[in-house]
C-alpha cells in the first residue's frame, strides 16, 4: 500500500496494540462514564416518561466527558518518548499521524459507547420510540466530530500550562453545534414524535464533520511544526 496509508495504519495498529496491553484509556473512560451515569440518576427519576426527553443529552454529556479523558492522553505517550520530534524530522506526511491518532481515539470512544449503551438502556429503561437505526449514523458522525477536533486541540494544548484544562476549554465551545445536533437527534429518535425528524440534525452533523475534518487536515501540519 502507498506510503501515507501505510504510515497511518502502522501508527494506528501500534496505538491499538499499546492500548490493548495496558487498557489505560479504556478503563479510565469506562469508570468515568459509569460514575456520570450513577450521579446523573440522582438528579432525575430515570424511570419516568420525561426521562426520555433528558436521556439524549445525558448520554452525550457522559460520552463527551469520557472522550476528553481519552483525548488528554492522546499525545502524552508521543511526547514522553520524543516521537513527535522524530515525526517532525521524518519525511512522513503529518496528516498520516493525525488520521492515525484521530482514528485511534474514534475506536476507543466507539468501544466505550458500545459498552455503555446497554448500561444506559438498563439503568434508564431507555427504549427508542422512533427509528432506532438512525442512532447509528448519529453515533458515528457525532463521535467523529468530538474526536477529530479533540485530537487537533490536544495537539494544540501540548505546550500550554494546565494542559488538561486547556483541551476541554478549547474543545467545548467549538463543538457546540455538533453537540446540539447529537443531543437533538438522539432525543428526537428516543421520543419518536412522528412530526419531528432527526434528518436535519444528521445532515448538520455530516456538514460539521466535513468542514472540520478538512480544517484539521489543512492546519495540522502547521500545528505540529509549531510545537
Amino acid at each position: 500500500m502507498s506510503a501515507p496509508q501505510g504510515i497511518t495504519l502502522a501508527t494506528l495498529t501500534k496505538d491499538i496494540r499499546l492500548e490493548w496491553r495496558s487498557k489505560d484509556a479504556i478503563n479510565s473512560m469506562l469508570f468515568f462514564a459509569l460514575l456520570v451515569v450513577v450521579v446523573f440518576s440522582f438528579s432525575f427519576d430515570p424511570v419516568a416518561e420525561e426521562s426520555r426527553q433528558i436521556a439524549g443529552g445525558l448520554v452525550w454529556v457522559a460520552f463527551l466527558f469520557a472522550a476528553v479523558v481519552a483525548l488528554n492522553q492522546t499525545w502524552a505517550r508521543e511526547l514522553r518518548n520524543q516521537v513527535l520530534d522524530a515525526y517532525r524530522v521524518s519525511p512522513a506526511p503529518e496528516n498520516s499521524l493525525f488520521l492515525a491518532k484521530a482514528l485511534g481515539n474514534f475506536i476507543f470512544v466507539g468501544v466505550l459507547e458500545l459498552l455503555m449503551t446497554p448500561l444506559f438502556i438498563v439503568f434508564y429503561k431507555l427504549r427508542a420510540l422512533g427509528p432506532a437505526w438512525q442512532l447509528i449514523p448519529v453515533a458515528i458522525l457525532g463521535t467523529w466530530a468530538i474526536v477529530v477536533n479533540g485530537t487537533f486541540f490536544a495537539a494544540m494544548s501540548l505546550r500550554t500550562r494546565s494542559r488538561e484544562i486547556m483541551l476541554p476549554l478549547l474543545l467545548f465551545p467549538i463543538t457546540i453545534p455538533a453537540l446540539l445536533s447529537m443531543v437533538e437527534a438522539t432525543t428526537t429518535i428516543l421520543v419518536g414524535d412522528p412530526s419531528t425528524s432527526a434528518k436535519f440534525w444528521i445532515v448538520l452533523l455530516a456538514t460539521y464533520d466535513v468542514v472540520f475534518t478538512t480544517g484539521c487536515l489543512a492546519l495540522f501540519g502547521t500545528v505540529l511544526h509549531a510545537e
Binding site: 477536533n149 494544540m156 494544548s157 505546550r159 500550554t160 500550562r161 494546565s162 486547556m166 476549554l169 478549547l170 467545548f172 465551545p173 467549538i174 457546540i176 453545534p177 446540539l180 445536533s181 437533538e184 419531528t196 436535519f200 440534525w201 448538520l204 456538514t207 460539521y208 468542514v211 472540520f212 480544517g215 492546519l219 502547521t222 500545528v223 509549531a226 510545537e227
Partner: protein, 288 residues
C-alpha cells in the same frame, strides 16, 4: 500621530454624548415596551461592533497563517478576489434563493467590504503586526460581546420577566463569546514561541464554526420556540437613525480602544525583544 489621539478622543466623546442624548431624548418611545426599549440603542450597536471586530480577527488570523509563505499568500489573495467577484455576481444570478429580507445590494456591499478590509490589512500591517491586530480585535471584541450579554438580560427582565432566554441570538452570542474567550485563554496560557500560529489556527476554526453555531441554534429554536429578545420586523425610520448614530459613535470608540490596546501590545513586544537581545549579548549581567 500622537497628537491625533487626544483630538479623536475628544471628538468621540462628543459623538458618544450626542448619541446618548439622541437615544434617551430624541428617539420616540416604543409602544409596547416603553422606555426600556432604549437599551436597544446600546445593545445592538455593541453586537454589530463585536461581530465586526471578530471578523477582523478572522481576516488577521488568516493573513498571519498565509503570509508565512509567499506562495500561500498569493493563492489567498486570488481566493479573496474570487470570493469578492462571486458575491457581486451571485446575488443577482440567484436572486430567488436569497432569504427573505436580504437584498442583493447588501450581499455585494459585504463582499466588497470583505475584500477591501482584507487588502487594507495586508497593506497596513506587516506579518507580525497582523498577529498583534488579531489579539487586539479579539480582546476588544470580547469586551463588546460582554456588553451585549449583560444588556440583553437587563432588557429581557422587565420586558419578559426572565433574565435569560435561550433564543437564537443570545445563545449564539454566548457561544461566540465562549469561543473567543477560549482564544484569549490559549494566548495567555500557551508558552510556546509559536503561540501566534496556534492562536491563528484556533481563530480560523472559531470563525468557521460561527455559521454552524447560528444555523444549529436557529433550527433548534424553530423546534422549541422561546421568547425572542429584541423582536424582529420593521423598524421606525427615526429609531433607525438613532441606532445608526449610536453605532457610529461606538465604532469610533472601538477604534480608539483598539488603537490603545495595539500600542500597548507593540510596546510590550519591543520591551520583550530588547530584554531578550540584552540577555543574549550580556549573559552574565542579565543573570545578576
Amino acid at each position: 500621530m500622537k497628537k491625533a489621539f487626544p483630538i479623536l478622543g475628544l471628538l468621540t466623546a462628543v459623538l458618544l454624548s450626542y448619541a446618548l442624548y439622541e437615544a434617551l431624548v430624541v428617539a420616540p418611545t416604543e409602544q409596547t415596551m416603553g422606555d426600556v426599549q432604549r437599551i436597544f440603542y446600546y445593545h445592538v450597536p455593541s453586537a454589530w461592533t463585536a461581530f465586526l471586530l471578530f471578523f477582523l480577527n478572522f481576516l488577521a488570523s488568516v493573513q498571519y497563517l498565509v503570509r508565512r509563505d509567499p506562495k500561500t499568500d498569493a493563492i489567498a489573495n486570488w481566493v479573496v478576489i474570487a470570493l469578492g467577484v462571486l458575491t457581486c455576481i451571485a446575488p443577482y444570478a440567484f436572486r430567488n434563493l436569497l432569504p427573505v429580507g436580504v437584498y442583493p445590494s447588501s450581499v455585494v456591499t459585504t463582499g466588497i467590504a470583505f475584500v477591501g478590509l482584507y487588502f487594507l490589512i495586508h497593506k497596513l500591517f506587516s506579518e507580525q503586526q497582523t498577529d498583534m491586530l488579531a489579539l487586539t480585535t479579539a480582546e476588544v471584541g470580547v469586551v463588546f460581546c460582554t456588553v451585549v450579554l449583560v444588556t440583553g438580560p437587563i432588557w429581557a427582565r422587565p420586558v419578559w420577566g426572565i433574565w435569560w432566554t435561550w433564543d437564537v441570538r443570545l445563545t449564539s452570542t454566548l457561544v461566540l463569546w465562549l469561543i473567543y474567550v477560549s482564544y484569549l485563554v490559549l494566548r495567555r496560557f500557551s508558552s510556546s514561541g509559536q503561540t501566534p500560529v496556534l492562536a491563528a489556527a484556533l481563530a480560523v476554526f472559531g470563525a468557521l464554526d460561527v455559521p454552524l453555531v447560528y444555523f444549529s441554534i436557529w433550527f433548534f429554536r424553530t423546534q422549541h420556540p422561546q421568547p425572542v429578545i429584541g423582536g424582529g420586523g420593521a423598524i421606525d425610520p427615526r429609531m433607525l437613525h438613532v441606532l445608526l448614530i449610536n453605532w457610529l459613535a461606538f465604532l469610533c470608540f472601538a477604534f480608539l480602544v483598539c488603537w490603545s490596546r495595539y500600542r500597548l501590545e507593540r510596546a510590550k513586544r519591543e520591551v520583550d525583544e530588547t530584554l531578550a537581545l540584552e540577555a543574549l549579548l550580556e549573559p552574565r549581567s542579565a543573570l545578576r
